[in-house]
Amino acid sequence: MTTPAGALNAAANGGFVVSLERYTGPLDLLLSLIRQEEIDIWDIPIARIADQFLLAIHALGLDEAAEYLEMAARLLRIKAQMLLPRRGDEEPWEDPRHELVRRLLEYQQIREVVDWLTAAARRRADRYSRGYLPQLPDQPPPPLELDLRELMEAVERVLAMMPDPVIFRVMPRPLDLEGANRRILSLLAEHATFGWRELLGERASIADVLSALVSLLELARRGQLTIVQPRAFTPFEIGRGPAYQAA
């Protein structure tokens, strides 16, 4: 655990303050202050440690964290109680620090278990078990049994659950297959081979591209043209097929 001294200096010099999780809580901070000052935990100079605690949480930027503020308030209350005059010897005096010391010791014990666990986990991490973890096969879903009516009802239930169903209107835009066909055939009549770019020309719309593609595939299926890619990654070439007949 780092000491808060560095952070204190940084704050005093106007430097940045690291308020990352350096301490796991107010007890952690308090213990490290006590250790740093080499204070006897059974006789804590509460005024001094309360001031240091306040300084530290300010320097660490923790003075808005409720848990740290609560501890600060507790320390100040104990400090005040210590200042009260004790009554005579007949009445047993209960040290107001008693509860704090009990908590600190309890917490200190936890820290020691943490150290022990850290060492144990490190030793364990030096031994590997077999890494293979078989994935259990998922149960195949049972075959779906429903008829169209049930399916439509399910769709309606889903639609009804949607607060405001978003419905897109699809505008039909017919493809000009005939035009594309004519263009391909006329190109075939003029050239033994030609490319996709020549077929589309400049500024082809999506409808043009789709029309050309569908026509091309259809004509290729009928054997009127061939589509060849000479080498990998080169543009393909369109040529006359076995069933080609000049128009």
Binding site: E21, L105, Q108, E112
Partner: protein, 180 residues
């Protein structure tokens, strides 16, 4: 090694987790618990004396074949296996508390640590290191947490009694000294 010890070795090799003594009974109904204990002792001895890269380790109420620490660095450097992600100091504090006080509620953990720990508890549950062990009879019937076998596995413990006893720790909980 006899047939049963070899069966034990095969089962431990095949299983992705430590196998407990009573689970071994499923392998061979005719073998008694003592037979398995004998087989475990024989296999352990076999690995220890035969010059092997692995050994038989008692872990999380069971037994598992683990590689020797000697080879950890080389295996990790080659990225053949990864070490588990380290836990934060806060997570270790919560684990330590639950390990000693289980079943224990969130309020008690927060009282001792002096900070809230809902997020840490959730993370530890997600990693399978803590589980809900029931509910307290107290006000609001708060959830009680306990450690899991995975916790024992992660820490390399055979069972919770492997944890140091509180009086063995450097700071034992002593009653404060009476006034001088």
């Amino acid at each position: 090694m006899d047939q049963r010890t070899r069966l034990l070795e095969a089962a431990l090799y095949a299983a992705p987790r430590p196998l407990a003594l009573d689970e071994l009974g499923i392998l061979d109904a005719e073998a008694t618990e003592d037979d398995w204990k004998k087989a475990l002792a024989e296999l352990k001895e076999h690995y220890e004396t035969g010059g092997h890269g692995v050994e038989l380790v008692e872990l999380a109420h069971g037994w598992q074949i683990l590689t020797l620490p000697l080879f950890a660095e080389a295996i990790e450097r080659a990225a053949f296996a990864a070490r588990p992600a380290k836990l934060s100091a806060a997570a270790l504090e919560v684990l330590a508390l639950v390990a000693y006080r289980q079943p224990v509620g969130r309020a008690e953990i927060e009282e001792i640590r002096g900070v809230s720990c809902g997020g840490v508890l959730r993370m530890l549950q997600e990693r399978g290191l803590l589980e809900v062990a029931g509910r307290s009879e107290g006000l609001g019937r708060p959830i009680l947490y306990a450690t899991t076998p995975q916790f024992l596995e992660l820490m390399g413990l055979a069972d919770l009694s492997d944890l140091p006893r509180t009086e063995e720790l450097a700071v034992a909980l002593r009653p404060p000294q009476t006034e001088p």
